[in-house]
Amino acid sequence: MRQNLFDISLIWLLLVLIVMTLIPPLTNSITMREEFFLMMQYIALAASLNIILGYAGYVSFGHIVYYGIGGYVAFSLMYFYNIHLIPAMIAGGIVCAIIALLLGEAVLRLRGAYFAIATIGVNEAVKALVNNLEFLGGSAGLFFNFKIYQQYGGAGSAIWLAYYLMAILAMVVIVVNYLIKKSKFGLGLMSIREDEDAAIVLGIDTRKYKSLAYMLSAFFPGMVGAIFFFKNGNIEPVNAFHLLKSIEMIFMVVLGGFGTVTGPFLGSILYERIRGILLVNPLFKDLHMAVAGIILLFLILFMPAGIIGYLRDKFSVLRRYIE
């Protein structure tokens, strides 16, 4: 199993991602960059969530809390101490992982819907708390001074840096997803998903496994938040801890197929496209939420394994190529 890194299903995924990343700088198109930035962000978020939701089967409903915390940690480091984006971003990720470890000790003992509600509660509690913290700007949030972009060579290059970092992050998360799926750790997580009690009986240290999976799936969103709010130039609680964004993440994972590597990737790209079409189409513009709801409902009712899950199920030849 050592030649796994050269597996065909991972190679084509990475190739697509690299080609995607290179299109905007080569065509020098700002619109393309913005669109691909959003796609990469979605891929990184959805694939991170996939680790705890897809593999371990724990529905982390308020997962956006880590995106917000990572964003706030990195933003304050850059804002107050003028630290460079890259160390600030890593710090954001590490803080999220530590919080996930501590919080996980408590909430990962809950199962099913109880866990889902607890994660919603965590997100809302953190949002309300940040709203009250004066040094973080309270509900108005923090705004970058334009000068902060000088050390990156101006706002223009700062945005390109954010773009490349996001693309790299998306690739790293996809690779991590793949490695987990092919490892003993991944098998352990999937056995937790199928039957946690049986997994315990078989000698899997479920507590350690769940904890590690939860930390990993919190680490990357923390960095995504850092990059996003750096590019955005301001951060406020409403944006950082928006429950709807959490549900977007879940939607992307389910659309593509949870517990697969290609699923969150495909789901994110499709979601970004669907969202784009719905928002510009004059007929659907005002109804985009309702249309998204109808699509989601049909997906859940008739294709619960997602697109990739459906394809793998119907065409077994494809299983070699899409993981």
């Binding site: 939701l53 089967g57 529905v59 409903f61 408590a106 909430v107 003992r109 809950l110 099913g112 819907a113 109880y114 889902a116 509600i117 607890a118 919603i120 509660g121 965590v122 809302e124 509690a125 949002k127 309300a128 708390l129 709203n131 009250n132 549900i247 879940i250 939607f251 389910v254 949870f258 005002d286 109804l287 985009h288 939420m289 309702a290 249309v291 998204a292 709801g293 109808i294 989601l296 409902l297 859940i300 009712l301 619960p304």
Partner: protein
């Protein structure tokens, strides 16, 4: 007002508000107890209840407290339709499916709702006078809301414990397979409980609309409150929801005398997580 009066005033407002919070949460708790579904469309239906009572009042001139009966009926029908179209197929699937299917219902309702009614604030413009005891003034609408909430809770209690259908609902919530073996049609029972849950949510929405201004998006906040209430009172226990509602109403009105209002949500949601982790059966639940 003297210090004591402020306390009494806060306690009375807290209790009256708590009753309607409790009513809102009972629907959520009933649905969870019977079918183990966290109904994420709960808030959307609360908002729909607000809009319905507002439409009845402004367009047809129906007196709000009479309109509540219409809201109840509409809620029952909508709930049963929702059950068969969105939940029936996935009722035995993992919780992710039911969470997402009920959430998609919420998206559809809020989506069409924003399209038709926009998001500007609305209010029911009518007065029920006020009751004055010394320097304490209690609005008539608040009293009426509290009384009607108690009435509906009592009716639900009688229904669940005294009628055949109610007993069937309780049987299904205890053990669906065994209930089916005893000849209970679980499809109808589940659909009916979902319908009742939704109609209670809509009635609670309608009652809240008589006190506070609202928009089509207001339901979300009350949905989150309902989660806190259900966890406080014990998930799945309809009467626990009433206790949880009263607790939350009191917390909101009394704690704000001591700490800034903006800290209340922090306290509420921290409480939610802590109780879930330490005592998932709720404050009143056994072991």
């Amino acid at each position: 007002m003297t210090g004591v009066d402020i306390w009494i005033d806060s306690i009375i407002s807290g209790l009256l508000l708590g009753l309607v919070y409790g009513l809102a949460a009972i629907g959520l708790n009933l649905i969870w107890g019977v079918m183990k579904v966290i109904n994420l469309s709960h808030g959307a239906f609360i908002a729909l209840g607000m809009i319905t009572i507002w439409l009845l009042y402004t367009s047809f001139g129906v007196f709000p407290y009479a309109g509540i009966l219409v809201v109840l009926l509409i809620g029952l029908i909508l709930g049963i339709i929702t059950y068969f179209s969105a939940l029936h197929r996935v009722i035995n699937a993992p919780e992710l499916s039911t969470l997402l299917s009920t959430f998609s219902v919420s998206l559809i309702i809020i989506g069409f709702g924003t399209f038709i009614f926009k998001t500007n604030p609305k209010a029911l413009d009518f007065s029920m006078g006020a009751i004055e005891i010394g320097s304490i003034v209690i609005l008539g609408t608040k009293v009426a809301t509290g009384v009607i909430s108690i009435l509906f809770t009592a009716l639900l209690y009688v229904f669940l414990y005294k009628t055949r259908m109610g007993k069937a609902i309780r049987a299904v919530s205890m053990n669906r397979t065994a209930a089916e073996l005893m000849g209970i049609n679980s499809n109808i029972t589940l659909a009916l409980s979902f319908g009742i849950g939704i109609s209670l949510a809509m009635v609670a929405g309608a009652l809240i609309a008589t006190i506070f201004p609202f928009t089509i998006l207001s339901g979300g906040g009350y949905e989150l409150k309902s989660f806190v209430i259900c966890v406080l009172g014990g998930l799945g226990s309809p009467l626990g929801a009433l206790v949880g509602g009263l607790t939350l109403g009191l917390i909101e009105n009394i704690v704000t005398l001591q700490i800034p209002t903006s800290y209340v949500p922090v306290l509420e949601f921290a409480l939610l997580v802590v109780i879930l982790v330490l005592k998932p059966t709720g404050l009143l639940g056994g072991k």
